[in-house]
């Protein structure tokens, strides 16, 4: 049975149609999420493409079409984590490359950003994964607590505490650096 047949049986639109529509509606926001996480637009676009490809492959498994966006968000977050870890491993292998993945940023972004913004983003990227993700989803993308919890696989209480802890940590870091 192919993906589309399975999707139709599950009451979902065809995979290619459903995934493409979702991509058109949400890809820009998800690429923005990736850019904040990774500091690199090309890498962010790759992560989002991979996420939607994964969604396409798993389309027939969705029990509810409303879960598709949550699935895509979770996949993008997973992809960003994997990309960051790959970067850290690469940097460890090559000691001549800066070892702090948090400060890695594309030349394009570095030129366009002012010093103030660079400082803030460097601090955001030094946050632990969970705090950074909660902050970006809740605070920047305006995703609801429940959806953030779903995308991150954590409870809503943890979303709250992670966001609050992230802001507190940012406050400490920025005060220290300014």
């Amino acid at each position: 049975m192919d993906i589309d047949t399975r999707a139709r049986r599950a009451g979902l639109p065809d995979a290619s149609v459903g995934v493409t529509e979702l991509y058109q509606a949400h890809a820009v926001g998800l690429i923005k999420l990736g850019v904040i996480m990774l500091g690199d637009r090309t890498a962010a676009e790759d992560v989002v493409q991979d996420a939607f490809f994964g969604l396409y492959r798993n389309w027939g498994r969705l029990s509810d079409p409303d879960n598709a966006l949550a699935y895509a968000r979770a996949s993008v977050l997973n992809g960003c984590r994997a990309a960051l870890r790959q970067r850290i491993r690469r940097d460890r292998r090559d000691r001549s490359v800066a070892t702090d993945a948090a400060t890695t940023e594309s030349a394009e972004s570095a030129v366009l950003l002012g010093e103030e913004h660079r400082e803030v983003l460097a601090a955001v990227r030094r946050l632990p994964d969970r705090q950074r993700e909660a902050l970006v989803l809740r605070f920047y993308l305006g995703v609801s607590e429940e959806e953030t919890a779903g995308a991150m696989g954590i409870s809503r209480g943890t979303v709250k505490s992670s966001t609050s802890r992230a802001l507190a940590a940012l406050g400490r870091m920025l005060k220290e650096e300014s």
């Binding site: 995979a15 493409t20 913004h117 632990p128 605070f139 943890t158 992670s162």
Partner: protein
Amino acid sequence: MSTVADRTRAAMDAVTSQVDSAPPLALPPPLAWTPPGSRRRWRAPGPRRRRGPWLAPLAAAAAVIAVAISLVVVRGTPNAQPAPAVSPAGEPVSFPDYYLTFNQPVSDETVPVGLELRSTLSGKTLSTLQPPRGLSFAGITGAADDRTFVADAHRDPYGAFNSGGRSRTWYLVRVTGTGSHARLTMTKLPVPATPVGTEILAIALSPDGTKLAVGTAPWTANTTNARQALTVYSVATGVVLRTWTTPPGPANWAIMSGGEGGADPNTGVAWVGNYALAFGGGTQTGHGPAYTIRALGISGPDGDLLSTSRPTTSVPTAFGGSDRKTPFGCDPSWRANVLITGDGTSFVCGGYGTSSARLPESLCKPGVAWNTVAFAGFSLTTGKETFLSGYRTTCQGLAVVAYAVWVNATGSEVIGWMHVANSIPGRFGVFSNGSFRPLPIPVPGNWYQWDDGSLLDQVAW
């Protein structure tokens, strides 16, 4: 003057301002679906084998007998302390031999989540347990004998990813055999399944393994006014022994909730001995959230959770100051990392501060933000600090994390995670006065780093 929030939002706007379009999506031609792993997600065509209906009463009776036998074994060793293990260096250490964890990320929705029994000392997997067909494990909690656990499971789709609100069924998980021959067995419990639309806030098995406390709330978008309930069940019969609820209305009081790794929280409620429970909640203060631990005897009446419980002591909260006068406090991000010692006299937390007389003076440069991170024990009755151990100092003043996942009867030994900065490896192991013994980090397959509290709720000792 702009706030941190304003500055952060402005920076994020700036770095994403150039992103106004996405490249075309390239999808491959339709693919045939392949089942993940070796376990089929859909049943193969053909008639399904069913047990005859006459087997049901027999099965139920057998289950009750199995539970009863298991509980007799647990009762025979109330609050048993596990036998000391021996480290590779030959020194005696006293911590539980085994722990239970999940065999993969609980957020994975594609395959059923099973359980693994691991050796605390070596980290090796000794036994695995697949969930009943069509179910996936979502929460675990353990008794004091290190051999009795309760796990809850929910139906397809697998994984705790967005799993709130699904009905949970309950299983007794026992360790049989010892050493490398230890094996897991599972028996369905008569504890009623939670109704669909219920969120699990906390699960806690009593030290003697005879009672299961379950904290719940309606799974609604607005949790602020959700009425929470704490129910104690008999493990052997499934009978409700006690139920308490919070008053309706805005809740500035809540059962402590963990859920850091997506699993059902096993850290939200703690037993104080076999006949009392401790839970906590908080209010906002100028320095951030403040928590109080409340005690609740199960011999008392049902009713209002607050009026039938009594406050014991406040949890000193760390608020991240960076001068030399910041008192030690428990990290407020890990509300659930307050563990009660087996003797019921103290609670233990991970936290940080700078000024406690028992914290070492920092050698950081003047004006540099810094913090010392440690584990601390406090008297449940007086709130006074009784011990402090495992401290490490960072001159960065950030990324300071400590949380405990197990504490012994007196609080003299804590198993926990400690991390002082992103560039310094974290420590997982046994912290006791002045010493640290590393242990293999439990890896339940979670994709988060451990400094995010991911071990909470995903391991049960």
